[in-house]
Amino acid sequence: MTMARALNEGLRRALEKDKKVLLMGEDIGKLGGVFRITDGLQKDFGEDRVIDAPLAESAIVGTAVGLAMRGYRTVVEIQFDGFVYPAFDQIVSQVAKLHKRSDGVYTMGLVIRLPFQGGIGAIEHHSESPEAYFVHTAGLRVVACSTPNDAYWMIQQAVEHDDPVIFCEPKSRYWEKGEVDLDGPSNGLFDAVVRREGVDATVVAYGSMVKTCLRAAEVAAGEGRSLEVIDARGLSPLDLDTMARSIEKTGRLLVVQEAPPSASVGSEIAAALGERCFYSLRAPATRVSAYHVPYPPSRIEDAYRPSVDRVLDAVDRVMEFE
C-alpha cells in the first residue's frame, strides 16, 4: 500500500487499541486532511476523537498538552512543515519540559505529525525540513519514516511511546507503494536500518533522501562502487552504534539530508561519528545538504534538494581518499 494509506491504517489501529488516543488538526475531519492521511477516521471514530481544530497551531499543540495532562494521547497533524513555527513555544517550552518540570508526573505522550521535506512542486512554506530545531531540543524525540511499512508501524509505536514524538513524514513519498508486514514491527522506533549493504562508503540518510541514496547506490554499483545505505529513522535519539559499525567496515561516511547544512542533523551525525570513528574514518565525514538559502520556488527545487548526481559527486570526493 502507499505510505499515505499505511499511515491511515496505522492511525486507525492506534484509535482502536486505545480509547484515550485522539487526533487533532486542521481539516482532518470530513476532508481527511489535505493529504487524506486521516481519511474516514472522523466518520468511524466520531468528532470527539478526530477533532477538526480551529486555525491556530500554538493552540493545537497547547491544548494537546492539556489533554495529555488529563491522560489523553493526542496525535496532532500540522498541515505542512512550514506551519509548525507558531507552535514552537508550546513545543520547546512546554511539550519538551513538562515531564521534567513535574518530576515525571505529567506524561507528554503526544505525537506531532509533520509532513516534511519538499519535492512536490508546492508554493512557499510547504516544503521545509525543520527537524534540526527539534533534534536540538532536549525533551523531544524525533523520527522520520521512509517506507510504508515503517510508516504503519512507527506511527503506532510513536503513539504508544510515553515521550513526545515529532513524527516526520516525507510528503514526497506519500504516494509510493510498498509492502506492509501486518504481523509486527521488525525494528524499534529509533533503530537505524541498513537498507543496502556495501563496503566502500557508508551513506546515512532519512525521509525522502533514503530513496535518493538507494538510487545513487545502484548507479555507483554500476561504476564498481559498493555503498552501504543506512536509514537513520531515529533522529533523536540517533542510532550511532549502527552507523559506527558500518563505518568500521567502510571507513567512509556521507550524510545526506534535505535540510540546510548549518547546525543541522547532518552536522550532528558528522560531528558525533567524526569523534567516535576518528581512527576508522579514512576520509572526512562529508555532508550533502540543501543550501543555506530559504526553500526556493519549486520550479527549481530539484537543484536545491540533494539529487542522485550530487550524492554521487560526494561519493567521488570521499573515494579520492585512500
Binding site: P54, A56, E124, P294, R299, A303, Y304
Partner: protein, 354 residues
C-alpha cells in the same frame, strides 16, 4: 457600529437600500468602472484556473465570489496607502496596479514573491496565516512616526482570525491607535472548516473587545464595501485609529485547485450564494438606474477577454528561473555559507555529473 445586521446598499436583485449611516457617493461612471474591475478580475481568475488545469500553474487560489469585497475595498484606497494581503487578494492587487502576470508568478512557482511591493505599495502574498497583520500594524506605526497622511489596510480570512498573530495585531493597533484597517473576508470557509468552528458569534464583534469599531458589511455589495472601507480609511488617516471590517461573503470555488469541496459542503449552499452574485446586482443597477447599454457590458467583456488572452500568453512565456538565482538576495551582503553553496551548484551545473 454595534448593529448586528450587515451594511448593505444594494440588494442581490440590484435594488438600492437606505442605510442610516452609509450612503453611496458614486455616480454612473464610477459604478461602471467598479463593474469593469469585478468582471476583469473574475475573468482573469477563471483563466488562471484553467491555466492550472493545463499544468501551467502549480496552484491557484480562486477569488470567485469575493470580487465585490476586494474591488470595493481596493478602490477606496488612496494611492499613498499601503496594503498587506494574504494569498487570495488578486482583486486588491489589481486595484493597486500589479500586472496580472506578476500575480501569477508565485503560482507558477517561479518565485516566492512576484512584484515590487514598494512600487505598487502592495506587499507580497503572505501564506503563513495572519503574519501580515502584524507587518501592517508595524508599517502603520512607521506612518505615525513619519506624520504621513496615509492609511494601511490588511486582509485575512475567517480561519486566520483564530491565529494569535492576528489577535495580537488587534492589541497593538488599539494600544498604538495605529492607522490600520483590518479587512476580514469571511467567505464562510477555511478550506473544509466552516466559520462556525472559529467563532460562535459574528467575527466583527471581536474588535469591540479590543476597543475599536468593528462593522459587518455585505461583502458581495461593492457599493457598501467601498463606502465602509472609505470611511474606515479616512478614520485611520485622521488619527482616530483602527477599524475591523468583516466582509460577509462566500468562496464560490474550491479553496485552491488542489481542494475538493464536494467532500465537505453541499451544492445547495453554493446555490444560495450564487443568487447573491456580486457582479450581477451591479449590472442590474446600471441597467435599471442608469440605462447603461448592452454595448458597454460587451466592451467590458471584450476587454476582459483580451486581458485574459494576454495573461495566458505572458504565463506561457514565463520560464523557470536560473537555479543559481536561489542564492540572490538571501542576504543584503554576501554570507560565506550561502556563497559556498552558489559555487558548489555552479560547478555541478557545469562540471558536475548533473
Amino acid at each position: 457600529m454595534i448593529a448586528d445586521e450587515l451594511v448593505q446598499l444594494l440588494t442581490p436583485e440590484g435594488e438600492r437600500v437606505e442605510h442610516p449611516e452609509y450612503d453611496t457617493s458614486l455616480g454612473r461612471d464610477e459604478i461602471l468602472s467598479f463593474y469593469r474591475d469585478m468582471v476583469i478580475v473574475r475573468r482573469l481568475c477563471n483563466e488562471s484556473t484553467s491555466l492550472q488545469r493545463q499544468g501551467q500553474l502549480a496552484l491557484w487560489a480562486p477569488l470567485q465570489g469575493q470580487e465585490a469585497a476586494q474591488i470595493g475595498a481596493g478602490r477606496a484606497l488612496a494611492p499613498t496607502d499601503f496594503t498587506f494581503p494574504s494569498y487570495r487578494e488578486h482583486g486588491i492587487a489589481w486595484t493597486r496596479g500589479v500586472p496580472p502576470k506578476d500575480m501569477l508568478r508565485i503560482f507558477r512557482a517561479t518565485t516566492t514573491g512576484g512584484w515590487d511591493p514598494q512600487r505598487y505599495r502592495h506587499s507580497l502574498p503572505t501564506v503563513v496565516l495572519g503574519d501580515q497583520t502584524l507587518h501592517a500594524v508595524g508599517y502603520a506605526m512607521g506612518v505615525q512616526r513619519d506624520g504621513a497622511d496615509e492609511a494601511v489596510m490588511t486582509f485575512f480570512g475567517d480561519g486566520a482570525s483564530s491565529q494569535g498573530d492576528v489577535l495580537e495585531s488587534f492589541v497593538w493597533a488599539a494600544s498604538f491607535n495605529a492607522p490600520v484597517v483590518f479587512v476580514l473576508q469571511n467567505n464562510q470557509w477555511a478550506i473544509s472548516e466552516p466559520a462556525s468552528l472559529q467563532t460562535k458569534i459574528p467575527l466583527y464583534h471581536r474588535a469591540h473587545g479590543f476597543g475599536f469599531p468593528g462593522v459587518r458589511v455585505d461583502g458581495n455589495d461593492v457599493l457598501a464595501m467601498y463606502e465602509v472601507a472609505r470611511r474606515a480609511l479616512e478614520r485611520a488617516r485622521s488619527g482616530a485609529g483602527p477599524t475591523l471590517i468583516e466582509a460577509y461573503t462566500y468562496r464560490m470555488g474550491a479553496h485552491t485547485t488542489s481542494d475538493d469541496p464536494t467532500r465537505y459542503r453541499v451544492d445547495a449552499e453554493v446555490e444560495v450564494w450564487r443568487h447573491r452574485d456580486p457582479i450581477e446586482r451591479v449590472k442590474a443597477l446600471l441597467v435599471r438606474e442608469y440605462g447603461v447599454a448592452r454595448a458597454n457590458f460587451d466592451d467590458v467583456a471584450a476587454e476582459a477577454e483580451t486581458l485574459a488572452l494576454q495573461l495566458r500568453e505572458d504565463v506561457l512565456a514565463m520560464d523557470s528561473p536560473d537555479p543559481l538565482t536561489m542564492f540572490d538576495h538571501v542576504y543584503a551582503e554576501p554570507h560565506a555559507l550561502t556563497e559556498a553553496g552558489r559555487r558548489e551548484l555552479a560547478e555541478l551545473v557545469t562540471g558536475g555529473r548533473a
